[in-house]
């Protein structure tokens, strides 16, 4: 995969099981967002992405992958309430006339309750805290019934206790719903402490394994080594 002829990511091969919680670490510009957008099918690439055994990026399979964008990429002043946002996850199930049914609305409410934001239904996004915003977007992913959820820097701008609570929530969703969660993060300490597996990316997959085992000083040095062309990558 490349941007303007400069390779952004190569030699990245891994598989994630249902119910697995995986941290994706790497410096700015390492290709974390690019990797997520490739998995989603939002950027052209030469690799293969399979979901549930079927080759992805045909419309039906794409709808089972949810992407939660970085906070900085969102217009939080957009006139949209929390319940409207969560309900938009049901779009893939809507049929004739694209009208939501009572079942869709019940499902959205239940998803909001399962991530603890059912009391925020009518609120504007702009009035929520960083942690609440992440929970609301998780509720949208649940309403989408996504088997794979990609969270891009979801823990950034969230204070430590809220970040710990979010990771608890991630783990619970993986355990109880069988959702595979990939969380891009800069927080190595949190990754070591709370994640069972991490993918360390720096334009290629540098290490893949249990953080406590693979994130030794040499691996960290390798992952966070100076980039050759930092301006061109991770910008898709």
């Amino acid at each position: 995969m490349s941007h303007d002829g400069v390779p952004a990511l190569r030699d990245v091969t891994f598989s994630v099981g249902a119910g697995e919680l995986v941290a994706v670490i790497g410096p700015n510009g390492a290709g974390k967002s690019t990797l997520f957008k490739a998995i989603m099918g939002a950027v052209a690439h030469t690799g293969h992405v399979d979901v549930d055994g079927s080759h992805c990026h045909h419309r039906r399979e794409r709808t089972a992958i949810a992407y939660i964008p970085q906070r900085a990429d969102l217009d939080l002043e957009f006139p949209l309430s929390v319940d409207e946002l969560v309900l938009s996850g049901r779009r893939r199930f809507l049929r004739f006339g694209r009208r939501t049914t009572a079942r869709d609305r019940d499902m959205a409410r239940s998803c909001m309750a399962s991530v603890g934001v059912d009391n925020l239904a009518g609120r504007r996004l702009g009035s929520l805290s960083g942690g609440q915003i992440q929970r609301v977007f998780l509720a949208r992913a649940l309403a989408q019934e996504a088997g794979v959820v990609l969270l891009d820097e979801s823990l950034s701008g969230v204070d430590q206790p809220r970040a710990e609570e979010l990771v608890d929530l991630f783990a619970a969703l993986c355990r109880h719903r069988g959702t595979a969660l990939l969380v891009a993060t800069h927080d190595l300490a949190l990754t070591r402490r709370r994640f069972g597996r991490c993918l360390a990316i720096n334009r290629r997959l540098v290490v893949d394994g249990a953080p406590a085992a693979v994130l030794d000083p040499a691996a960290i040095e390798s992952v966070f080594a100076t980039l050759d062309h930092p301006a061109h990558i991770d910008a898709a």
Binding site: I65, Y67, P79, L85, S88, R91, S129, D159
Partner: protein, 295 residues
Amino acid sequence: MGFVDWFVDWFVDPYGSAFMQRAAVAALMVGVLAPAVGVWVVLRRQAYLGDAMSHGTLAGVAAAYLLGISITIGALAAGLVMGLIVTALERNRRIGSDAAIGVAETLLFSVGVLLISRSDRIGVDLTHFLLGQIVTVNDADLARTAVLSAVALAAIAVSFGDLRAVTFDPEHAAQVGVPVGRLRYLLVALISVTVVVSLDTVGLLLSVAVLVTPASAARLVTDTVATMTALAVAIGVTSSLGGLTLSYHLATPPGPTIAATTIAWFVVVAAVAALGRRSHGRSHGEPVELDHLGT
């Protein structure tokens, strides 16, 4: 003079004649359609596209007059050509979207002026195209406006959820099956239809006023797209009918008077929004969200 006399004098007397009644119906339809489309133009931050498309439409209108075909078809064709040129230029990553729109606008507007300058037949009507001439609207114009408005409003109603999703988060919208590309063309078509419908009322130069100003005013004080649309339409209808009424009493051109009325509304709503923020700040203080403080 009592209130009833004053009311009749201001709001009933102007509409005694058939041509003013037709003008009121035209103004009403523009007052509904333009803000309903304008909401999406404002939310997608594409006001410049709306402005450019209104100017570029001159080429289609002038060509239609020269060829003796319907100006509706000419105007819609110009909108389509504009959309295609902008889309083609935008593919070149060295040219930004705004530059692509600027090039296409200049091309079509200059072609329009050149066509008009080469023809004696349509020279007298240039002001009509540019500033509108609502009191000359006939029944056929009204029927055309009604059909176009109904189709455009139905398209917005059917696509409302998808338009909102794609405007807020286009990547997620694509992920859950929203036809992102098709909606982009729908918006271009809606702007084009709005320009056609506004042609007689406010003209090409000021159609952006009814497209963008009511929606911008509504954006200042609403929290959902549905309420923003309702308020924008309310502002649009009162501006177009109010502007028309005002132009009758002040003996001013209707198009610019309607445009000026939308601006007056914007100023009032902006003042209300500022006062509301100030009193909210006093009573609640600045919100502090612990999550934002980091560690």
